[in-house]
């Protein structure tokens, strides 16, 4: 049947090269941070993972809205793919953030606005999968999924805002608190490394999304073939 498109193969190779380049930049090019030392290196991939998580989140919401307007199943597949990918990347971002937080803040977890919002977003994604699992009818599953991503997309910024207000009113428990992340000054090699990592992970996101959408389309074809046989 349809083989892997050439462009996808090239994109995969590009992703691998970029990823190795990003690793090299993080460990060889970017200077050591004075206070945090090697721990700060987590930051580059942490922020890239979080970035991809947000990218997938926005992509899912947009695909959901397009699905509701056009009712073409391919947009549901894009939405599902984006949610799946950003669930994984957000989980990595949360875990790597905790690894960074332990030596820096002295604790794995703070109820910081970003951390908490990321966790709630992760919970919304898990609920999204549970919702889809509970519906057999394909068209209804796509419709409800799209509505739920839309609701999630609107509620997450409000959540972030309200936790921010909570933070500013609420006294910060452990010294530094949420401002610690912004407190180290970035030198230009650091900034360059960070931007390169962001770019790399965006390419990886696009590659994975393409694979996942292809998988979704193939699964859809298999489903149709199955139906043909049974009829």
């Amino acid at each position: 049947m349809n083989r892997q498109p050439k462009a996808l193969i090239y994109l995969t190779i590009l992703s691998v090269i970029l990823f190795l380049g990003a690793l090299a930049m993080v460990f060889l090019y970017a200077p050591l941070e004075v206070v945090m030392n090697y721990v700060q290196k987590v930051f580059y991939f942490h922020i890239s993972n979080a970035w991809v998580g947000m990218l997938g989140f926005v992509a899912a919401a947009v695909a959901g809205v397009i699905y509701l307007i056009t009712r073409e199943l391919k947009w549901d597949i894009v939405e599902m793919a984006a949610v799946e990918i950003s669930t994984v990347f957000f989980l990595i971002a949360i875990i790597s953030g905790s690894i960074w937080a332990k030596p820096t803040w002295g604790t794995y977890w703070l109820w910081d606005a970003r951390l908490t919002t990321a966790t709630i977003l992760e919970m919304i994604y898990l609920s999204y999968f549970l919702l889809r699992q509970g519906i057999e009818d394909q068209e209804r599953r796509a419709r409800f999924g799209a509505v739920y991503t839309l609701i999630g997309a609107v509620s997450v910024p409000v959540t972030f805002l309200s936790i921010r207000i909570w933070q500013t009113i609420h006294p910060v428990v452990i010294g530094g608190g949420s401002s610690a992340q912004d407190s180290f000054g970035m030198t230009s090699p650091m900034l360059l490394t960070m931007l390169f990592c962001l770019f790399t992970f965006s390419v990886i996101f696009a590659t994975l999304l393409w694979y996942r959408v292809r998988l979704g389309n193939l699964a859809e074809q298999v489903e149709q073939l199955k139906q043909k046989i049974t009829q």
Partner: protein, 231 residues
Amino acid sequence: MEKNPKVANPNLKAIGAIVWKDLVAELRSRELISAMLVFSLLVILIFNFAIELQPNLRAAITPGVLWVTFAFAGTLGLNRSMAVEKDRGCLDGLLLAPVDRSAIYFGKALSNLAFMLIVIMIVLPVYSVLYNINTFQPGLLLVILLGSIGYIAVGTLLSSMAVQTRTRDVLLPVLLFPVIVPVLLAAVKASSGFLLNLPMNEIWPWINILIAYDVIFIAIAFMVFDFIVEE
């Protein structure tokens, strides 16, 4: 039937009819409110043992206890109110009626809101007596109204989604809780502001968040409800 034939707008009439139908049905069966009420009192009872509501901590913990209770009891009511429509095919009947679909949403939302407020209005005095706290403050009542509106606006939408899935009863809280975090956070904070007599400038941000959330989600529900009940 609706008693006032002078209402010109057919949608308002339809909303009124649905609210009226729900209230009359509830008045005859008393299923929903009694279940919510008994459940709420049990939750408070459990809290009493779980976190020992000592006099010096009460004012600080009360808003949290109350809102957790309302949120849990609310899912019972929302589930039941939609399941009744779905089980006996009443929802299909409602959908066949020649009125705008959003009228059905607003009708159900208003009756859900009425049930929730009735339960709250019974639970509050009981709580006041049990724990010797004055909960009858206009500010607190305003917060409860705004919080309930936000909760019900999203809850009605998601419960009409949840009843159409295989896992229905289990699904509603899972879908609902991650997206109503801002409501719960703001409601708890504003309530404790009033109970602890904090200055108004610390309470206003929370009330603003509640109002913003209510407006945003009523508008969203109005836009997407059609997608949930079509077919």
